[in-house]
Symmetry: C2
Subunit: 384 residues, 2 copies
């Protein structure tokens, strides 16, 4: 029996994680932000010991839905962190955004294996997460398809012999748009692309390649590589999930159907590879894979990410906070599509020296303080 | 200091192997079939202990070229096998054709690590080579780029969790030819393709995909997979050297520039990956990778290989011997391009039952006897 907790169980990563659990897994904790009904259903179906709802006002609903079952119910931020401190064989950290930071850190101290789907943890506090894992002996396994691919390509290899990691990117919905088109892109343009149906913020992150910038920063923290050792390759088909080049010029690549259960299942069964309910790749109908260099003029996000890689410290926190402000302003219709990167560049420029010498290992308060400074400066930015 | 021997040192694999040796390598044995001048030069340059020339009539020339040096010279088949029985840390088996069989078997008993470039050893006597390696503890590492890729993709993975191995093939010079064109293809057509400049026999093997058929048979012996677990994918760019699909539907692929020093260097430094003088892949100019299914109507070689996989035993020996006869007859102008596969099919058909129940583990004499039977039957075949 392996004990398992899923933080953020009602989102798509959480639901897919639960769908892969088997008879050998015993569920300890499930958590959700606000969806008490779904959380209760999941907790009952998976015979969880504890269900935690972040929004305290929803505790009565959760308790009522769980009455007559053996599942305990708690609520609020303190309860969430306490639940994350429960020792467990395997935990999934899939809470979205900076709300996932504190639970991830607690899980890094209490889980034997931590599957990490929360990007912000590594972008804003990678040094701290790594230090926590090193101290507790927790095995960190990334669940983003790109980082999972790199992790898989590195299995059984000597990471000191890595020359480069190559993150692939779909290029997003504006891959073939001109700079002039992108300048005029509206929120509706950004959200209405036929090939992409995701949430609003993640779609904007994809269209701007902010998402890829976060992944580049995350890769540096996960795989201890320098700025020169990270490259992004645009690959529209999203079949090659990412690659590692070694010093003998060999490249190992991980390929698969675009299905998040691949990376989740890998993390769940690691170091085993158990059968997963995923479509195999069919090279007979696949026909071709395309690759092209990313255009840093149209996608300045990648240039900004490189600034973060070079300066380190808490510059990742600054990037992430400024990006959140930029998205708020674009969604509100106050700034244009290309303004978003200008806002981030402005904030980074103001804070780069100060943030580069601060480290998340000094504590989460330092991180949250820098996050606030970046948001405040971001609010002052105006298009020129 | 690691002791190293190179069998077949004057061919392209041998020369490339020598070019990768460093100060940490001490050369014990170098061998060549007939090129005494080059062998002597190599032996002197690499301070070898012993140089062996297979053609005994060339011993005086070799001895004279080595006079005044510390390199000993011997000649002939017995001397070759004796040299292969010398204990050594690392050996390269790169003698071409069935002449490489006996030295490979001897090396499997005396080398700690055996880099294998001789296809026929695994095709004709794979069970015997595997048994020899198991008995002596010799680590076998394939040097064909396809098998090296599979070996690399399997490093650190559990081979019991493999779903399929996918061998890539350039498709050869006739990839886009029609069946009617291929029927009329002359020796000159086969040899004059602009993108392919190799030796005569290997070019025919490439154009017919006999070469890929041998590799399929070799893969079964090297990786202990069934017929259902081996597929061939045509990939004209030859950048993806081969792939392994696991039961979780993940594919790990090895990519690189088409440079044989990649696989040789990997085998030389295994399990390390040391820097090699190879061009890195440039995804910014690479632009696309194509894949297509092989056409078994135009390339019956793959269908015949599958027959060998299913029947096992010494059917690989039969395939290889019949193929050699077919090439002789095509080169002599006695049969047409598509007749070659018909001849092999005819011989396989006559010998499949008898050869399937015989095994190379019974001894090399049994293998050579089956080889002769197949050649004799092949000689009797006439186009209908």
């Amino acid at each position: 029996m392996r004990t398992v907790s899923v933080f953020g169980s009602t989102g798509s990563i959480g639901c897919n994680t639960l769908s892969l659990l088997g008879a050998e897994h015993h569920v300890k904790v499930l958590t959700a932000a606000r969806n008490a009904a779904k959380l209760a259903d999941q907790a009952i179906a998976h015979k969880a010991e504890l269900a935690v709802i972040e929004d305290e006002t929803l505790l009565p609903e959760l308790t009522s839905r769980l009455s007559g079952t053996s599942v305990r119910a708690t609520a609020g931020q303190t309860a969430l962190i306490e639940a994350a401190q429960e020792p467990v064989d395997w935990a999934m950290s899939a809470i979205i955004g900076s709300a996932g930071l504190a639970p991830t850190l607690a899980l890094a101290g209490s889980a034997r294996t931590l599957a990490l789907a929360n990007k912000e943890s590594m972008v804003c506090a990678g040094e701290l997460v790594n230090a926590k894992c090193a101290a507790s002996g927790c095995q960190l396994i990334p669940v983003d398809s790109e980082h999972s691919a790199i992790f898989q390509a590195l299995a059984g290899q000597d990471s000191k012999q890595v020359r480069r990691v190559l993150l692939t990117s779909s290029g997003g919905p504006f891959r073939t748009w001109s700079l002039a088109q992108m300048k005029e892109a509206s929120l509706a343009d950004t959200l209405n692309h036929p090939n992409f149906s995701m949430g609003q913020r993640i779609t904007i992150d994809s269209a701007t390649m902010f998402n890829k910038a976060l992944e580049v920063i995350e890769a540096q923290q996960l795989f201890a590589v320098t700025s020169e050792q990270i490259d992004v390759v645009v690959h529209p088909q999203q079949i090659v999930h990412s690659m590692v080049e070694f010093q003998d010029m060999t490249i190992l690549a991980q390929l698969g159907s675009p299905d998040m259960r691949g990376a989740i299942g890998y993390a769940l069964h690691y170091p085993q590879r158990k059968p997963l309910p995923i479509e195999p790749l069919d090279f007979m109908t696949l026909s071709r894979l395309d690759f092209e260099p990313p255009d840093e003029t149209r996608f300045p996000a990648l240039r900004l990410a490189r600034e973060v890689l070079v300066h380190g410290g808490l510059t990742g926190t600054v990037f992430n906070a400024a990006k959140e402000v930029a998205l708020d302003k674009f969604i509100a219709g106050h700034i244009g599509f290309l303004d978003m990167a200008d806002l981030i560049a402005y904030v980074l420029d103001r804070l780069v020296e100060e943030s580069a010498v601060q480290h998340s290992t000094e504590g989460l308060d330092i991180v949250m303080g820098m996050d606030k400074s970046a948001r405040d400066i971001g609010q002052t930015w105006r298009p020129t």
